[in-house]
């Protein structure tokens, strides 16, 4: 999956531009927006539109940036490293599904559309929960992030996608507070008028799962950087605690998990960018999301432990990383779910494994 130099340079530029919103490790915005509706900053959202991030995966012909998953993942990783609260993954999924209907106001950030696809926790099926008949949408979609800040929702149904304004009659939004200080909403549709659009969310959900894995990679790296820094500066028993071998080895193990997550996410992105579809693409995504979810929980848990007492306080930033991991590790499928899906698919490693088995 060697990447050519021009593309690497582009990816570097996207990463740099992300620093314009917050520098790596600076989680003050994330802290400020906790428990405040809508949970994110609309001005920052418009800036994201200006930078071409919302439509990053939308074709250039449709007004988007037309970039690949490697670019999207690099961006999501940077956002994760600052715990950026804006709902980029859910919005990017929506405009990508809208495609030529995405429209300049949505891509610019003036209008916020979020994908509402999930019937229930622990499922990856976008078809259930809501039905569309006679021009009316009924049912329920759950676990929509940042819904209070949305202007519209793009709702998946068995009949196709349905675009619904946030203030449509018959739509009730119930906000469930989340561990990261944001909310996950349940949308109740009671005969809501909406616009039916063609489209299949399957592939886009995989892209969103992978982007979430990349965001978690950023969370991992942010938590790890904070922790390694703490190990270097905090002193106990007259020495920096980072000189204790047990803590050193644990930091190395967490670094290994970060490295595996990066390799997993980037190889999955390259796989998708390389044109993989169907089982091959799904297996790559499941692998990356399973790794990222498990690693994010492990690293942030251990980050608390390595901080000791201070790590258990609300004022220490390390808890913000843990709470974000608690929300995103299960989003778009947690580790157990993706492990099951991976096992059910023809694993790409099976060839390698079976190939070796042909012994003499």
């Amino acid at each position: 999956m060697s990447i050519d130099a021009d593309r690497l340079e582009n990816i570097r530029m996207i990463r740099d531009s992300a620093q314009a919103i917050a520098r790596r490790g600076d989680v003050r915005r994330a802290r400020d927006w906790r428990d405040r509706l809508p949970g994110f900053d609309r001005a920052v959202w418009r800036k994201m539109g200006d930078l071409g991030w919302i439509g990053l995966r939308v074709d250039e012909a449709d007004g988007g940036s037309g970039l690949g998953m490697l670019e999207f993942c690099a961006l999501a990783e940077e956002l994760g490293a600052t715990l950026t609260p804006e709902p980029l993954v859910a919005a990017a999924a929506a405009v990508r599904l809208l495609g030529r209907n995405a429209g300049s106001d949505r891509l610019s950030g003036d209008r916020i559309v979020l994908l509402a696809w999930q019937e229930r926790a622990g499922s990856l099926d976008p078809a259930g929960g809501a039905s569309f008949a006679g021009g009316r949408l009924s049912g329920c979609k759950r676990l929509v992030p940042a819904a209070d800040g949305a202007d519209e929702f793009l709702v998946t149904t068995e009949s196709g996608l349905v675009l619904v304004p946030r203030d449509a009659a018959g739509l009730t939004i119930e906000l469930l507070p989340a561990q990261d200080g944001g909310h996950l909403a349940t949308l109740h549709f009671d005969g809501v008028q909406g616009e039916l659009l063609p489209g299949d969310a399957g592939r886009v959900l995989d892209e969103a799962a992978l982007a979430t894995a990349a965001y978690l990679l950023g969370v991992i790296e942010g938590a790890l950087a904070l922790t390694v820094d703490y190990l270097k500066t905090r002193r106990q028993f007259d020495v920096p605690i980072g000189s204790f071998q047990t803590l050193q080895h644990r930091a190395v193990d967490l670094t290994l998990q970060a490295a595996l997550t990066r390799a997993s996410v980037e190889s999955a992105a390259a796989c998708l960018d390389g044109g993989a579809v169907g089982a091959e693409a799904q297996a790559a995504v499941s692998r990356a999301k399973a790794r990222a979810s498990d690693a994010a929980m492990l690293v942030t848990r251990q980050a608390i432990q390595l901080h000791g007492g201070i790590g258990y306080t609300d004022e220490c930033d390390v808890g913000l990383y843990l709470r974000k991991a608690m929300v995103l590790a299960p989003a778009y499928g947690g580790a157990a779910l993706h492990r099951r899906r991976y096992a059910a698919l023809q694993s790409p490693m099976d060839d390698i494994v079976d190939g070796v088995a042909d012994g003499p």
């Binding site: 999930q118 926790a121 622990g122 676990l143 469930l176 507070p177 989340a178 561990q179 990261d180 996950l184 002193r235 106990q236 028993f237 007259d238 204790f244 047990t246 803590l247 929980m297 848990r301 608390i304 432990q305 000791g308 007492g309 790590g311 258990y312 306080t313 609300d314 004022e315 808890g319 843990l322 608690m326 929300v327 995103l328 590790a329 299960p330 989003a331 947690g334 580790a335 157990a336 779910l337």
Partner: protein, 387 residues
């Protein structure tokens, strides 16, 4: 203020009869809404329960009867704690009862005993503990809060932290440095101070639940009478350390993990994971770990029942229980899917609160001596490995 009644002679009861008596007492008297509280109770919430225990003479199981305690044998103390934990009884602001009382009984002057002990039992004095300092977490002995004798008064300057529920307390017992040079464990003394002393400032710290369970306590030229010294000057360290003998077994009680495992089972049934063989295999391993932990706990309890004292190896219990507790809540998070990221329990059912219990469990391997420090101690004092 109620005054404690004279306690009955519990030692006359068999262990079985005493266990039944505890169960009956809890069923009859424990306020229903305080069972299995999600967080540590503040004084205004715990007060009624404190006074109920006090009025029946059930507040201080380990104190001798002549000081108003229950005077329980080791065996019966184990039963007392076990039944309280099994019932899910609310934990009190109990630093006066568990820590200060026994220390005064052992090291305090007659005046200190007769003045302070009854006020603990009556609920007039609520104590907090000032041991930890910001730059001396696990390395407690390097504490720097100092007290200087000025005529008939100690003048205290410095800062304590992780002081549980200091905002509710009206007295604090604390370790202070009264001499410098030499081993850092030397030159530490044990003082008592009213929380309303001029110069004391309390700043609550929000924990990861955003609950104000801990505080920082600042001392700025706080003056207390010379007579507030407990025991000998510069001998506070060994007094405070020796205190934590018997109680250390309770840090390894299986009840917290048993409670969590019950919640895991309940959660798995609610979410439909109970019949998943992969989940069930993990659950079974956790159940086996709990059963073996229980067996190990009993071997230490047996030593206490035989009148033996516990060695440093009792820390094995604390390490295993805290890590088991965490593994159980980790498993909850894995099966909870997106519920793991929500702030409130599933459907408002407090028994279905994976995220809350998971966060609570984070503290288990940090407080009461981190797992890392416990392992250091075991390696040296039990295995005899070199420094």
């Amino acid at each position: 203020m109620t005054t404690p009644t004279q306690t009955p002679d519990f030692d006359a009861l068999s262990d079985e009869a005493f266990r039944a008596a505890v169960q009956t007492f809890l069923a009859d008297h424990h306020p229903r809404h305080l069972r299995n509280p999600a967080k540590r109770l503040h004084w205004d919430e715990a007060r009624d329960w404190y006074l109920i225990l006090a009025s029946h003479g059930w507040l201080a199981p380990s104190w001798p009867r002549r000081y108003g305690g229950m005077g329980l044998s080791a065996s019966k103390q184990l039963i007392y704690v076990d039944e309280f934990e099994r019932f899910g009884a609310a934990r009190l602001p109990d630093h006066g009862i568990i820590l200060l009382g026994p220390l005064l009984i052992r090291h305090g002057s007659e005046e200190q005993k007769s003045h302070f002990l009854p006020k603990i039992l009556s609920g007039e004095h609520i104590w907090c503990q000032g041991y930890s300092e910001p730059n001396a977490g696990s390395d407690l002995a390097s504490l720097r809060t100092e007290a200087v004798l000025d005529g008939e008064e100690w003048v205290i300057n410095g800062q304590k932290t992780w002081t549980t529920l200091a905002q509710d307390a009206n007295w604090i017992f604390l370790l202070v440095r009264t001499a410098k040079g030499g081993r850092k464990q030397e030159g530490i003394s044990f003082l008592l101070a009213p929380m309303d002393s001029p110069g004391i400032t309390v700043r609550p710290i929000l924990n990861i639940h955003r609950h104000d369970e801990f505080c920082e306590v600042f001392f700025d030229n706080v003056r207390v009478p010379k007579s507030n010294l407990v025991g000998e000057i510069n001998r506070g360290w060994s007094m405070a350390k020796a205190l934590l003998g018997f109680e250390r077994i309770f840090l390894g009680s299986p009840r917290q993990s048993a409670h969590a495992l019950a919640r895991l089972k309940h959660l798995a049934r609610h979410l439909g994971a109970w019949d998943d063989p992969v989940f069930r295999d993990r659950y079974t391993q956790l159940a086996l770990d709990l059963a073996d932990h229980n067996a190990l706990f009993e071997t230490f309890a047996d030593r206490l029942r035989r009148g033996e004292s516990l060695g440093a190896d009792v820390s094995l219990l604390k390490i295993h229980q805290s890590e088991l507790f965490q593994r159980i809540t980790d498993t909850m998070m894995e099966i909870a899917a997106e519920h793991a990221g929500l702030l409130d329990p599933i459907g408002g059912d407090r028994d279905l609160d994976p995220a809350g219990l998971f966060l609570t469990a984070r503290a288990a391997t940090i407080y009461g001596g981190s797992s890392e420090v416990q392992r250091n101690i075991l390696a040296k004092s039990v295995l005899g490995l070199p420094s």
